[in-house]
């Protein structure tokens, strides 16, 4: 009897982990350098950071935005949920922001999530995104509206 109960509990636990892993894979994780003062921000603040309307973290660190290259599903998710723009609108937005002098240049775009993790882990003010299950302990995953990837109701989904 005890063995059967233990087996059931283990199965449920494993199933639970599997579901969370699956959920994380379907979410976009916002990542910053491990030493960043940012930890829990609102969706509105996130949009301001990525649109370069706010350029510095609360501790004064200059934020360095990093995107993923066009065609990546992570980029599509960020454009849809954070920027609320198409790729063309994004390019025009930053070209115009550069033109008006609001920003000095458009955010750089890296090849994939691994490059983003590497960049973010090495750059104090870096702010980027990867798939939820791709984030590792080399970076800090931000809470968005109090939730992290894998949580029910997390705002940033990624197919």
């Amino acid at each position: 009897m005890h063995t059967r109960f233990l087996s059931l509990a283990v199965s449920l636990l494993v199933a639970g982990f599997s579901v969370q892993a699956a959920d994380k894979a379907q979410h976009l994780a916002i990542v910053v350098n491990k030493n960043s003062s940012l930890s829990d921000i609102t969706s509105a603040e996130l949009a301001k950071f990525f649109k370069a309307e706010k350029s510095k973290a609360p501790d004064g660190t200059k934020l360095v935005l990093v995107m993923q290259e066009a065609g990546r599903p992570e980029r599509e998710a960020a454009l849809q949920h954070v920027f609320k723009m198409s790729d063309g609108e994004f390019n025009k937005y930053f070209l115009q922001a550069t033109f008006t002098g609001a920003v000095a240049s458009a955010p750089r775009a890296l090849a994939n999530g691994r490059a983003v993790l590497r960049f973010v882990s090495e750059s104090p003010g870096a702010l980027g995104y990867v798939k939820g299950d791709e984030a590792d302990d080399s970076v800090k995953v931000l809470k968005i509206d109090g939730k992290v990837p894998g949580d029910a109701g997390y705002a940033l989904s990624c197919k």
Partner: protein
């Protein structure tokens, strides 16, 4: 021929492990060996199959090694890009241009059309920015364009040293677009950015009869005001202002101020979080103008030599909503000139523009209004005197992400015929008379 009837399952397994393209590669590699074995027995040979499987395993191992090397190279590329993030200067170049066709039904005093249908080269805009460190950058914008005499000229439209200290304090020094209203700072010389073919009448540049000082040389501060979700911001500008020069009204004082007074512009904006895309703002611009004393007035040209010190005050406000497919722009101005020994003259002006984007097409409409008083002794600064108003409709087609084709039809009512002297002063030609005037414009605008 080799017969592999029985071991075909093993071949398939190997192919599955390696994937289709790789299996093809392996088959190709294996082929010479297989051909070399053409003298092998035509029946199933376990030793030969074992030999081939070993060879496949060796190739598997080689592929894994190569994949691992590729991954390491990828990481190295990531590191290289990380390193680039710290490399300065970071130079960025963009170019903008436009080519127009216009047809206008303006008539001269004899009732004949006074303007020929024409193709027009627009501006060729070379835009350069360079970050010199994490918080400082240089911005320059050089424009080539032809004047009404068809001769090409080169203008330095902007040159700025920019210092981004934090979200609350930023400074630009040099020649900038004044933050009088919204349009003048949001849209500069690249018409590709603008939904419509051109700027609203009252916002034309200094050499085109616009009523505001579009450019200034001085210092421009801007930043956020801690205000939570209200999203307040400020702008403070101090510059030379424009010259009060009869020969060339509204000249930007690039290298010297003819008077001791500085032009000051103070504005506040709000971008409330509750309504993403909304920006409202208001401000006031003030300058004191002194006519250049050695100007010789041509016969029949008005006023300026007879005018003393003139206070120029401009109130401006705007409401802008740009969200999703919607674009709504509206601005209002009130220009007040008070010259010594004269009464104050007010020139109200404004425009509203509404656009809605449907895929690559953006239909739009705009209504403009300027009422420039002829009695204003500083009237060359307020464009053609009289009441000018009218609607315009247009369609923008973004046929490429970097190029757009636009067509626009404007209808403008002029309550007064413009003064010939004004157009002479501005190097233009007399093109309108009292009454309705209409214009069709087609434009290709692009960036590169």
């Amino acid at each position: 021929m080799i017969q592999l009837t029985k071991p075909s399952t093993q071949w398939e397994q190997s192919s599955t492990r390696l994937g289709g393209p790789l299996a093809a590669l392996v088959l190709a590699c294996a082929a010479p060996g297989a051909l070399a074995q053409s003298a092998a027995p035509a029946t199933y040979d376990p030793a030969f199959v074992q030999q081939m499987l070993k060879r496949l395993d060796a190739q598997d191992a080689e592929i894994k090694r190569l994949k691992s090397e590729l991954a390491r190279n990828g990481d190295a590329a990531g590191s290289a890009e990380s390193a680039k993030a710290e490399a300065f200067p970071r130079l960025s170049f963009h170019g903008f241009g436009n080519i127009d066709f216009t047809a206008r039904n303006a008539q001269d005093n004899t009732g004949k059309r006074s303007v020929k249908d024409t193709f027009t080269l627009g501006q060729l805009d070379f835009f350069l920015t360079s970050r010199i460190n994490e918080s400082m950058s240089i911005l320059s914008e050089v424009v080539m364009e032809a004047g009404s005499d068809n001769k090409m000229g080169i203008d330095l439209e902007r040159l700025l040293f920019q210092w981004r200290f934090n979200d609350y304090f930023n400074m630009d020094v040099g020649r900038y677009h004044t933050a009088v209203g919204y349009y003048n700072t949001a849209y500069h010389h690249g018409t590709w950015f603008q939904t419509a073919v051109g700027r609203p009448t009252m916002l034309d540049f200094e050499d085109g009869g616009g009523i505001i000082p579009a450019h200034n040389v001085g210092v421009h501060f801007h930043g956020d005001i801690p205000s939570g979700s209200v999203g307040l911001g400020y702008i403070l500008e101090v510059g030379n202002g424009r010259a009060y020069n009869e020969a060339d009204p509204g000249t930007v004082q690039n290298v010297g101020d003819v008077d001791k007074y500085k032009a000051v512009n103070l504005a506040f904006i709000a971008r409330p979080e509750a309504i993403p895309g909304l920006q409202v703002g208001a401000g006031v611009y003030h300058d004191t103008l002194l006519p250049i004393s050695n100007t010789t007035a041509a016969a029949g040209t008005p006023f300026l030599n007879a005018v003393g010190r003139t206070d120029e005050l401009m109130f401006h406000a705007h409401a802008v909503y740009k969200h999703g497919p919607w674009e709504y722009l509206s601005e209002g101005y009130l220009v007040r000139h008070k010259s010594a020994g004269d009464v104050a003259h007010l020139t109200p002006a404004g425009f509203a523009q509404l656009a809605y984007k449907i895929d690559s097409l953006t239909p739009y409409t705009r209504f403009s209004y300027v009422h420039a008083l002829n009695a204003d002794r500083a009237w060359p600064f307020v464009g053609a005197a009289g009441l000018h108003y009218g609607p315009g409709v247009g369609l923008r087609w973004d046929f490429s992400t970097l190029a757009a084709f636009k067509v626009q039809y404007d209808l403008i009512h002029n309550s007064l015929a413009p003064d010939a002297a004004f157009y002479t002063l501005n190097g233009g030609t007399l093109t309108t008379v009292k009454g309705w005037d209409s214009m069709f414009t087609a434009q290709i605008a692009f960036t590169f």
